[in-house]
């Protein structure tokens, strides 16, 4: 099933920028997908951004969010889901421990 996979280090510093890679796996080759990465739990302000990539012939791609900042200390939850894609992509989420 076409899905997303979030890849990042799960311990971050409060308001310290870090990178998140959202892997698109098994979707339609060549599709221009838009992926939304957004925070659903933790301390405000909640992060939200949209990034896109043209998938390769395997239907795979990586959307790189390179300036993610989370307020802390807390355990934040971030979710990646498809904002635009030819086929539905199963979302992914991770919990990030935000250190002071």
């Amino acid at each position: 099933m076409p899905h997303l996979r979030i890849s990042t280090t799960l311990v971050q510093g409060s308001n310290q920028p870090f990178r998140v890679r959202v892997h698109v796996i098994g979707a339609r080759g060549g599709d221009d997908v838009a992926i939304r990465l957004w925070q659903t739990a933790g301390l405000p302000p909640f992060y939200s951004a949209v990034g896109g990539v043209t998938l390769d012939a395997n239907g795979d791609g990586i959307v790189i969010f390179d300036d993610v900042r989370l307020a802390g200390p807390c355990t934040a939850r971030i979710v990646a889901d498809d904002d635009q894609s030819a086929v539905p992509l199963h979302l992914d989420d991770v919990h990030i421990e935000v250190q002071p």
């Binding site: 060549g30 221009d32 838009a34 990539v53 043209t54 390769d56 395997n58 791609g61 790189i64 030819a86």
Partner: protein, 626 residues
């Protein structure tokens, strides 16, 4: 005054001199966690009084350990609050003795007071249990460390130690050991763990791995951008409205028609072969080729299908004519269609540009593009080979498409390769981070760290001391006593009371204490016991007889009712363990001053004296009153 026989004095003195006070150590063991016990520990025997007591606590093993004994009198209640000072409060060190399973911590506490409750608290170091240490190691292994922040600090090792310390504190609190392991030890252990972790090395490796990953990400981004640039910038395939990425304005798509006959792609086993259509006329797969092409260009390919439908015998003339026709460019431009092996058919390139009413690419267009790049990935030479043949008839159009599709194939291959490299770098970084976690777990289990995380266990025991052993007087409540007193007799003379000449007389009797007397504990250190206030340890009544008959008016006095012995009654205080001072009264009868008067009169002598309590008599008395 007539003295009693001195032989009695000598016998008593010898007996007193011969009697010894037991001084040998008695040994008592402490049993931890005895089944059914409500106390932290139990003693292996009744606590003796009056002698030094060696307390032994089993501590099997080889890890370094030491202990402390705190002892204080506690008549009632629990042993939770240890006094900082007070009589008979002792603090004794315990050292290890023996080896292996027989190793004990032992300390000797001074003699304890008779029939008194004491709290004995043994505090000693021991390692936390192995399963608790394993759990602690797992928790420390999960210490959240923001490496890219920590590694930029002036003291990364200290930063890691601070975080490890929090993990240790949390876990030992969860285990209920926070009061047993001091914060100093925790801090020391955390710093030791951080030093053994070699934070500097990890910072370097993690930094390099992260930098490598970031470089790979950038390379992937560039590869993905190249793909997008070819798709939307060169091929001018429309982008979905609102999709991320720069919109290409005024992009002119390459021609979707071509003045060339399509190439024929035939399958030979697992391989495909690209030929001109003219050459394919003699191919056994002509009908398949014709069927595939007629779907793309029905009008132009109908003749081909017609030839394909002829019997082999009647085909030659038609083939020759068609071959001649196909050797020249078609009269009209044909839709450019490329055979894509994954599809098993021809894909008209015009379908790449199909849009809906909102000018968004149709789903079919997206699917066609996917099939095209799929074909370029797996069968690049097949796809581009068709255009290379068509270039013979329409160089410009074919060459344009060759360039675009070659760039697209390169971009696709580059994007796929760059993604693989990013994933490799991700795995390398994740493996490094996991190795730090595994290393932390290993370090916590090292003996040097486990020894630092020693808990101080305190086990309280409250027990009353029992009988003093051996030949001590067994703490009897009654003691024989012998002393000397000075008395002021009050007599009747000439019908009035007056004080006669004083007496100085020896006496013997018994001191009655109303509780068992402890003659080992220093008098100033005596404490109240539950059944005996310390007042009654020092004060007692004395009863007895004078050993000499004093006289009044030159005549010996008698005891009450004219008996020949004179009793006395007194109340005294122990000034030392055995020496006492007493005061009291001696009732007696005396003759009248006037010798002509035969009446006797009552008199009373007030006295004070000093005496010595004996323990020979108490030894006998102890047996009698047991």
């Amino acid at each position: 005054m007539r003295p009693m026989r001195s032989s009695i004095w000598i016998a008593l003195a010898v007996s007193w001199g011969l009697s010894g006070r037991a001084a040998a150590d008695e040994t008592v063991g402490l049993v931890l966690d005895a089944p059914g016990s409500t106390q932290g520990a139990l003693l292996t025997r009744p606590l003796p009084a009056g002698v030094p007591v060696k307390v032994q606590l089993p501590v099997p093993g080889t890890d370094p350990t030491k202990g402390r004994l705190s002892v204080w009198p506690q008549p009632d209640g629990t042993c939770e609050r240890e006094p900082s000072s007070g009589p008979q409060r002792h603090e004794i060190g315990m050292t290890a003795s023996g080896t292996g399973d027989a190793r004990v911590l032992e300390g000797v506490i001074p003699p304890l007071q008779l029939a008194t409750s004491y709290c004995i608290v043994a505090s000693f170091d021991r390692r936390i249990p192995d399963d608790s240490l394993a759990g602690l190691a797992e928790v420390v292994g999960k210490t959240p460390i923001v490496w890219h922040s920590v590694c930029q600090e002036a003291d990364p090792t200290g930063e890691v130690a601070a975080r490890v310390k929090v993990q240790i504190e949390t876990q030992i609190k969860a285990l209920g050991l926070d009061k047993a392991i001091s914060s100093v030890r925790v801090a020391e252990a955390a710093l030791t763990i951080a030093r053994l972790l070699r934070v500097g090395d990890h910072c370097k490796k993690l930094g390099e791995a992260d930098a490598d990953l970031q470089a790979r990400e950038q390379q992937y981004q560039a590869a993905a951008d190249r793909h997008a640039a070819v798709k939307h910038g060169a091929l001018c395939i429309p982008r979905k409205p609102g999709a991320p990425g720069l919109a290409v304005i005024g992009c002119t798509p390459p021609a979707a028609t071509i003045a060339a006959w399509p190439a024929a792609v035939t399958r030979s086993g697992a391989d495909y072969r690209v030929t001109t259509l003219a050459e394919a006329l003699s191919s056994p797969a002509l009908s398949d080729i014709a069927a595939a092409l007629v779907a793309v260009s029905p009008a132009e390919m109908s003749e081909l299908q017609g030839v394909a439908g002829l019997a082999p015998g009647g085909r030659a003339a038609k083939q020759a004519a068609l071959k001649l026709k196909l050797s020249q460019p078609p009269a009209v431009r044909l839709p450019l269609a490329l055979f894509v092996p994954a599809r098993g058919g021809y894909v008209p390139v015009s379908e790449l540009y199909a849009t809906d009413a909102n000018h968004a690419p149709t789903d079919e267009a997206g699917r066609v593009y996917g099939e095209l790049i799929h074909g370029l990935r797996d069968s690049r030479s097949i796809v581009i080979g068709q255009l290379q043949l068509q270039r013979q008839q329409d160089r410009a159009t074919a060459q344009g498409w060759i360039d675009h599709l070659s760039a697209l194939a390169d971009a696709i291959a580059g994007q796929i390769a760059a993604k693989a490299v990013v994933e490799e770098a991700e795995k390398a970084l994740a493996a490094l981070e996991a190795s730090v976690s595994a290393e932390l777990v290993r370090i916590v289990k090292l003996p040097v760290v486990a020894d630092l995380l020693r808990q101080t266990a305190s086990v309280p025991v409250r027990q009353m001391t029992g009988a003093a052993p051996l030949s001590d007087e067994k703490g009897s409540w009654i003691s024989p006593t012998i002393g000397v007193l000075a008395a002021a007799p009050i007599v009747v003379a000439r019908s009035r009371r007056e004080i006669a000449e004083g007496w100085l007389a020896p006496y013997a009797g018994a001191s009655i204490y109303f509780c068992r007397v402890d003659r080992v504990i220093d008098l100033n250190d005596l404490v109240d016991a539950k059944r005996c206030r310390k007042f009654w340890q020092r004060f007692s009544f004395t009863v007895g007889l004078l050993l000499a008959r004093p006289d009044v008016h030159g005549k010996d006095v008698n005891g009450p009712w004219d008996v020949g012995v004179v009793p006395f009654l007194g109340f005294g205080r122990r000034m030392t363990q055995y020496i006492r001072l007493d005061v009291g009264a001696i009732p007696f009868k005396h003759v009248d001053l006037n010798p002509a008067v035969s009446d006797t009169h009552w008199g009373v002598a007030l006295w004070f004296g000093a005496s010595i309590d004996f323990d020979v008599w108490a030894l006998v008395a102890g047996k009698l009153v047991k």
